[in-house]
Symmetry: C2
Subunit: 353 residues, 2 copies
Amino acid sequence: MLKHNFSAGPCILPQEVFKKAAAAVLNFNDLSILEISHRSKDFVEVMEKAQNLALEHLDLTDKGYKALFLGGGASMQFLMVAYNLLESKAAYLNTGTWSTKAIKEAKLFGDVIEVASSKDQNFNYIPKGYTVPSDVDYFHFQTNNTIFGTQLKDDPTVSVPMVCDMSSDIFSRKRDFSKYDLIYAGAQKNMGPAGTTLIVVKEDILGKVSRSIPSMLDYQVHISKDSMFNTPPVFPIYVSMLTMEWLKDNGGIEWIEKINNEKAALVYDEIDRNELFEGFVANKEDRSMMNLTFNLVNEDHKDTFNKMWQEAGINGLNGHRSVGGYRASMYNALTLESAQTLVDVMKELERKA
Amino acid sequence: MLKHNFSAGPCILPQEVFKKAAAAVLNFNDLSILEISHRSKDFVEVMEKAQNLALEHLDLTDKGYKALFLGGGASMQFLMVAYNLLESKAAYLNTGTWSTKAIKEAKLFGDVIEVASSKDQNFNYIPKGYTVPSDVDYFHFQTNNTIFGTQLKDDPTVSVPMVCDMSSDIFSRKRDFSKYDLIYAGAQKNMGPAGTTLIVVKEDILGKVSRSIPSMLDYQVHISKDSMFNTPPVFPIYVSMLTMEWLKDNGGIEWIEKINNEKAALVYDEIDRNELFEGFVANKEDRSMMNLTFNLVNEDHKDTFNKMWQEAGINGLNGHRSVGGYRASMYNALTLESAQTLVDVMKELERKA
Ligand SMILES: Cc1ncc(COP(=O)(O)O)c(C=O)c1O
Ligand SMILES: Cc1ncc(COP(=O)(O)O)c(C=O)c1O
Ligand SMILES: [Mg+2]
Ligand SMILES: [Mg+2]
Ligand SMILES: [Mg+2]
Ligand SMILES: [Mg+2]
């Protein structure tokens, strides 16, 4: 039976991407994609296409940005951002586990001003009304908090370089991406499989810190080698390219945002309507369209509900241990049908209870 | 036509590995391997199997070593080694491009003593008779120099921790791996596809430097999380596991070493016998069994030879730009038949010339 994969990441990708990826493992211009040289014409083309597609989706082509696909995961960016940009102090918004980890790494390189935090309520809201000092090296935040299910809907306006971890909502909704100076995202949500991280950086913010940066951690080194300073993660980049192509062929972010909104409305409406469930996030405007966190009002239904969604072919619905309850991660490739299946199970529980 | 893939890396892997990898992209316990959570039971099993197989092949099980599969490439280890181990000074053997790059990164963290270098002859030999000081934090070298085609056949004996980049000959020949304290290798030669790096480290050498280490660069952090501190490169690790299984099922390093010796003998004998060709490496005992570098004695034959090997289905035979000529990379998965095909073409050129 086909699974409805609600995993938080790595996560569902389009079925046609899986098919093309599997085919390329068997034959990609007479070789397996797994055995081709990263310096081959074929792979250089893949890399360029991936870089161009990333910039195109973000509407950042020819605006002074470069796209890199590096290994190491988004967590590596927590320290690379600070290594490359933090000269004396930086401002961070603390909206959850990933912010907290980013702050921890940045503190090794300079002072961190936490402009606001929602830790007081287990990160169930997005702080507002904070001020970002104008004398910091940059302002860092996460657009979407994968674990807690909150999301910044608007793009902040600040007078310093704006650095953003978009790991869990990149390519899911329109934003004014040109307000951002550095965007990074682990591939393993809306972009591809685990194993590569996209960095889109405005070149003019680089080269300003006085420390010496190890080559592999230096954005300028990677830019100067077109993201091929060393052997890149070939297959994860190839599958990311396929996924970005799929998005483009179907109508881009504008197209997927509508579907994502539909899916989220469907499930949030049921969470609200159904008295057996309650949302985790305090304010509706902070609710994530990607990771929908909710709880059973009465834990007595837990075993029944768990059995029901598993029998319905749903996968990966358990919440993160720091939140508990449930988390429906509904990334770009998750279909409306899968969202409907979850709603059906929630309704069915209501009938049974 | 099936290609004889002599690429230097990423490179040929066993055909059965490609088949199993493609199948897992389509279906791995009802999901694609590309969409499963890295925290799922299924992937935790893959990771454990990969770690155990790596230690088993190196005969390092239960000897105080831990195996990690990280992202970032072997180049990331150039700096991680220094970050984690270099307190005041370290000794490096300079045998080529990769040594030179490792030395460059280490210098950011402390003093580097270059115990010997073969740079004077474009790295066409392995220096011998050097002394490694007993007061350095560690001794670093490469067993195999992918670009120049030289290889250290013996395992040095030193009184300090021994750190080794085995990217291009790991799992290809028996060594006394227990003489090494930290071994690293980019997957993309004998272990798997690009996108993950194996680190095998003796735990007792860690935790001795006074600097603070960013989490993602800290071996102890990765060890404490069983190589799952963050999202690992799931698919590259899975394919590495398949490749290590293939090696084990067929008889392990002992089995492949015999075949590798046969293949190398076949091609080196022809390089020596055939008057149109000459080897690049000065001393026969330094010749690599993995990367066989050679030149045409008379460059006039270049176009003819290039056309001939390409028509024979050979791929990736051009030498690295810093050496020129040809490089036949004959990793574990390259068959004796492919080596014979190359020899046949060399003989055919002789007949034609
Ligand atoms: C928002 C966000 N940032 C960073 C990370 C860390 O990513 P990685 O595991 O690739 O290091 C995650 C992982 O889920 C995430 O959701
Ligand atoms: C011996 C050796 N060390 C290190 C590297 C660098 O590896 P990576 O490209 O994974 O950073 C290579 C690459 O070919 C290599 O051959
Ligand atoms: Mg979070
Ligand atoms: Mg409700
Ligand atoms: Mg070399
Ligand atoms: Mg000869």
